[in-house]
Amino acid sequence: MKKFILFFLLISCFPVISQENKKDTLKPKDLKEVIIIGKKAQLFEKQAKPLSSIDEYLQKSAKVDMIKRGAYAWEPIINSMPTERTLVTIDGMRIFGACTDKMDPITSYVEVSNLSEATLSSGQEGACFGSTIGGSIDLKRNQSDFGNNKWDFNINSGFESNNKQKIIGASINYTDSLFYVSSDFMLRDAQNYVAGNNKEIQFSQFRKINFSGTTGYKLATNKLIEGSVIYDKASNVGYPALPMDVSIAEALITSLEYDYSPKKSIITNWETKLYFNTIMHRMDDTKRPLVPIHMDMPGWSKTFGYYSKIKMNFKSHHFLVNLNSFYTTAVAEMTMYPSNPNEKPMFMYTWPDVRTFYNGIFIEDNYVLNCHSGIKFSAAIGSHSNKVASEFGLGSLQIFYPNMNAQKNRVLKSFSSNYNYNKNGFEYGIGIGYGERAPSVSEGYGFYLFNSFDGFDHIGNPNLKNEKSLEGNAFLGLKKEKWNAKISASYFHISNYIIGKPDTTLVPMTIGANGVKIYSAFDYATIYNVSLSTEYKLSNYLKWNSQLVVSRGKDCNAVNLPFISPFNYATSITYFKNKISSEFSVQGNGIQTNYSALYREDKTPDYVILNLSFGYNFKINKSKIITKIGAENLLDAYYSTYSDWNNLPRMGRNIFLNLNYSL
């Protein structure tokens, strides 16, 4: 999609570094990328398609892409790395998907209406809320401010022609000087989508409802307490690229936060949050016409956690300390029903009630050297333990690892350092980082998890070592009055790179599977990503943006890694004046020449798609209506990308209409 458009706001783009020479007032430069999602009407106006999914917002970034198994719940990959190597949080809360097949990334349990922005951190800069290799995405919830007594009503509605997706949402907010409450609701209902050339993709329907509520109370001028809840329920979700669908996926995400901003102290802000979330996910194949054996595969995850984040300023040092902890349980089952009804069903734990307990501390010092340059250090250490709580499940895994203990403890360390320089529109930065991660529940404890991409049953390995990443990154940018350009690069050398390796002595359990893979590790793998983004102001109202991305990933035997993007480009022209907005964009990939045949990837052909949108704002008395209409894949190209599971074709021409009515 149109990766480049809209709202790439490197915080540094703001003229935050004032011209005053008082060192203390200098703000540190943060290299995080912020993707604005919306809420505020002004932001809505700038989005080509305000009611698109979170996934569509995120993949605008050069560093994020999406593995797609259907029309719903795409799996974000950051710097070419999937869920196990990344960290996705909602306002700093750790949440873990309950699906063994990664059909429910965290991003699938929230809605655009819940969120104001997504903060994307590359590599070790994303280690604030836990260990990561590729980076992190922190989804920031909408935050109301205290203010004058005010009610605020919003209605959102949308329709998409291709899959008859109907979107309806509403939000009600109230604020006064001591109290606020905001709530929103959103419903999406979509039928099968149609790929280019009118090819209907069976089992690509979905339905989702989402509700969120937040309430805050000001205890004193600088003290605030806030409670929030998100409830999300998806039902009848088809995954056309997989052999199973989802009958229901349900999440309850709750938190209670205390925020204190001392005055005249070196501590500027102290934020503490307690949270709990629970997810239930039910895979189901009862609607599929041809299955060798019917099975149910439910999964559950529950997480309790807290973090306490302190920000301190001392002279030119800007410290951030984050103490954080979580306890999470992961259970997944598989029950298979034999065709002979008199036979007992076959049952196994695919995730044997794995309890993960993490305690960590993260420290960062953003040190402003002078008005042009700064240096940032961060370090984190955490204790990580996994315990198999189910005796049944432990016995199952002991089939493969007879001497395995129920518990395994690890220590995870990370550090990073970045230098940045910015003068007269010329900027550059370099950084290094080191990070470790523990194997995921599937990698450590999965039991006969079938991967429909490579066709292998996967068995976890509790003896895996920590994966370790050494990373280097750099950027170079130039900003002139009319244009700016920036080239960024990151390189990862990942030791003990965890991956499934075939074991030919084992016989698969899944009917028709190619074999069994045991999670194991390569000595190392390397991944690099280089992106170039440019912006050219053709006039005050007309802007031309472009983005080019090159990625490459290889293992220690110089064999290509799977899910690495081929050359990828996007360009757009946006027009924005008063009530009228318009955007035309082109997006495409080159031929995937460096595909990974070993992981059953094939050479994905190149493609290019065109998108067009128009917007107009009406004002009637006090109320305001933002309308957006547009077409995606204007030429109805039939295509699939490197990240489409089993070459699932993408959506063909789609006309959308989004309406936002606010009172």
Partner: protein, 282 residues
């Protein structure tokens, strides 16, 4: 609050009482000797009552049987008997016995005697099993005989066949009683029919095991270990790996010490089951 304290105190007292109870049990080992077994038969002669116990009811196949002998005069269980037994199948044309162990005391101070019997066939309307128990107490011999109910087992627990070497064998599944999704220690008895009355254990053989799930593509399981003996005269032990619950067919091949297969086929693309097997569902 006061009430709560009282409750907590009461619970503590109860907990203490319970722990002391279990200490009492240790003093009296008789209860332990009959743990997990139930009485399936009781019969008498002029002097004694014989009580027979097993894990569930006795059926075709391998059965662990425990015996207690009660003196009818004193109602006291006899501790110093030496016991032997003879199961007999009364067929229309002939009578034969079956593989069986000797009968041993479970513990020196106890009153329970135990052993196993492998009923290689089930009773039917005209053919039945009886069990003769001979025992000696202080030099005096006694005997008691009773018909035993041996219904057919639902699962295939015992195989009785003539091997390619012309020898008649009996291969019986003994353990585990309750298979788990795990590596299960498997115990098997392998006997040959020497004559109508003697069925000794054969020594030095190997029973190859290959568990399969016919309802699910006939997949197998990893890390099974063929059953072998640790010493001559012992039952055979191996490892049976079961990766999920459900119906399992344990395909078997019986191999002589020289490697000759006397019964059973290897599972291949075309051969989906062996003629020698056990099966069960859990």
């Amino acid at each position: 609050m006061k009430n709560q304290l009282k409750n907590i105190f009461a619970v503590l007292v109860m907990a203490l009482a319970l722990t002391s109870c279990s200490k009492d049990e240790d003093v009296n080992p008789i209860i332990d000797e009959l743990a997990d077994v139930t009485k399936f038969k009781e019969f008498t002669n002029a002097t004694h009552t014989l009580e027979l116990y097993s894990h569930s009811s006795v059926e075709q196949g391998y059965n662990e049987i425990k015996i207690r002998i009660k003196d009818n005069a004193t109602n006291v269980y006899v501790k110093n008997a030496s016991v032997s037994w003879t199961p007999l199948m009364h067929m229309t044309m002939m009578t034969h016995s079956c593989p069986k162990s000797t009968v041993e005391k479970v513990s020196p101070d106890g009153t329970v005697y135990e052993g196993y019997i492998v009923f290689q066939m089930a009773q039917n309307s005209t053919e039945y099993w009886d069990l003769k128990i001979d025992y000696t107490i202080n030099g005096t011999t006694f005997t008691a005989t009773s018909i035993i109910d041996v219904p057919a087992s639902i699962d295939r627990k015992v195989n009785s066949f003539t091997g390619t070497d012309g020898v008649k064998y009996i291969v019986a599944y003994a353990e585990p009683h309750h298979p788990k999704v795990a590596l299960n220690e498997m115990v098997v008895g392998i006997f040959k029919m020497q004559d109508m009355m003697n069925f000794p254990i054969v020594d030095g053989y190997t029973l190859k095991i290959d568990p399969r799930m016919p309802s699910m593509g006939n997949h197998s399981s990893p890390n099974n270990i063929n059953a072998t003996q640790s010493a001559a005269g012992d039952l055979y032990k191996g490892i049976m790996s079961l990766t999920m619950t459900g119906y399992w067919k344990i395909n078997l091949q019986l191999s002589k010490p020289d490697g000759t297969i006397v019964k059973g086929e290897e599972i291949t693309g075309t051969v989906t089951e062996s003629s020698l097997y056990f099966d069960f569902e859990f």
